[in-house]
Amino acid sequence: MSLIEVKNLSKSYGPIQAVRDVSFSVDRGEVVGFLGPNGAGKSTTMKMIAGHVRADTGTASIAGFNVADQSVAAKHHLGYSPEGAPAYGEMTVREFLRFAADLRGLADPAESVRQTLSLCRLEEVAAQTVDTLSKGYRMRVGFAQAVIHDPEVLILDEPTDGLDPNQKFEVRRILKEMAARKAVIISTHILEEIGELCTRVIVIAKGEVRCDESRDKFLARGPDLNAVFRKLTA
């Protein structure tokens, strides 16, 4: 059984078909790069897998639990960071992570918070409110709440968006550390990230899967990844 199973997912917003019959599965140890232009349906697909948006048709499951019927069980195995890494701005980083740990009913919430602060290198801003953080730290806080319970499935919507090269390196380092034990989906439009981080690539455009293949196969499509991307998403 794959940790993430997506079968024939479709979603329309009024007359606009955002996602059209998308199917794929992700196994433990895989890091899937979810590529596509803005408005291609990447975020909508991720939201449907995370159980935030209800699919019109099709099913998604996480660790064997259907996200529509067994949503709470599915969400215990999921770490999700939405686009822009929203967080409660008036809470300190420590309070926010403690809230996430308490809500998830973790056995030792204080210890989970301590380990996550250390893993994501957030100790020095732990007592600052989220509102006062720089974008780089904010993104890391979003990432931290997604991994605090050491989930089997990790879905990150543009986790490196707007970060400087050092911060991107940092996020990739943490991801690489934990990727072998998890099934990970990362959406991005930074093509260099594919080579560094992903084991597999899914390209989505106009709500449809245009390509689903291993990283090496994708990189072999041509020396200019931007041209490859334009051709696939045209």
Binding site: A87, D102, R104, G105, A107
Partner: protein, 261 residues
């Protein structure tokens, strides 16, 4: 890191959300402004508008008389942030992808806000003591036996239930928008109508439209009409059922609205 628990307590998310929301009021000056405004108005309306002192009667009914007005204004003020703030900050997407049902989240938020309103109400206890003190005949006064505590406790219980009903309405308003100001104004208007129902002028207006039979039915829905028995020391199931139904209907509707959007 701790692995996800196999059978986490059903109450863990509820309690976590309740604690966060309740503490959230005190993270901004809003809570203190709210408590001050509530107490200032509760006391001054009773003494200056209601003539609590001049009435010469050691009863709190003139104090509770204005509570529907206060709750109609302040319950939406306290409830506006419940969902609107989650939408504005985008955290609703986090909350709803954490292992919590919308119902648990809505109940946790509602209970936290209700507890906050209860704190505001409890701060007016000195009014009850004052009336109790003034009401004694001066010879053999005793704080326990002096005032009619049953009636006073009944009034406070009724007022708290009334606050819960207004908060239920405020939760619906908050679930409908990402703008706290709109949530507040909409919630206030809805509660305001329930306050007006049962007041003479408004009833005459309605009678013109519906006939007197219809008005009688509608008057039962007014907030003061249902609060009044509590302040007279009458315990009746109907007003309790009324306030709780409004509160839970609001809670249920706000849950459905959040689930659907």
């Amino acid at each position: 890191m701790s692995p996800a628990p196999s059978s986490p307590s059903r109450f863990a998310p509820l309690i976590a959300i309740m604690r966060r929301e309740f503490a959230g009021y005190f993270r901004t000056p809003l809570a203190y402004v709210f408590l001050a405004v509530f107490n200032a108005f509760a006391v001054s309306l009773a003494f200056f508008v209601g003539g609590l002192f001049e009435s010469g009667v050691a009863s709190l009914d003139r104090f509770f008389l204005y509570h529907p007005w206060l709750w109609a204004f302040l319950a939406p003020a306290a409830g506006a942030r419940l969902w609107a703030e989650e939408r504005r900050q985008g955290t609703i997407e986090l909350l709803l992808t954490w292992p919590v049902t919308v119902w648990q989240a809505a109940l946790g938020k509602f209970l936290a806000a209700w507890l906050f309103l209860a704190c505001a109400l409890l701060m007016t206890i000195p009014v009850a003591f004052t009336v109790g003190y003034l009401g004694n005949d001066g010879s053999n006064w005793n704080i326990i036996t002096g005032p009619d505590w049953g009636v006073i406790v009944g009034g406070y219980a009724g007022s708290l239930l009334c606050a819960g009903a207004c908060l239920g309405i405020a939760s619906i308003a908050s679930a409908l928008t990402r703008n706290q100001v709109i949530a507040f104004v909409t919630g206030f208007l809805a509660c305001f109508i329930l306050v007006l129902v049962g007041y003479g002028v408004f009833d005459e207006l309605l009678a013109g439209i519906l006939g007197s039979g219809g008005v009688d039915e509608i008057r039962r829905l007014g907030l003061w009409r249902n609060l009044e028995p509590f302040t007279l020391g009458l315990v009746d199931a109907r007003p309790i059922a009324y306030f709780l139904s409004v509160a839970f209907a609001g809670l249920g509707l706000s849950t459905i609205i959040v689930e659907r959007r």
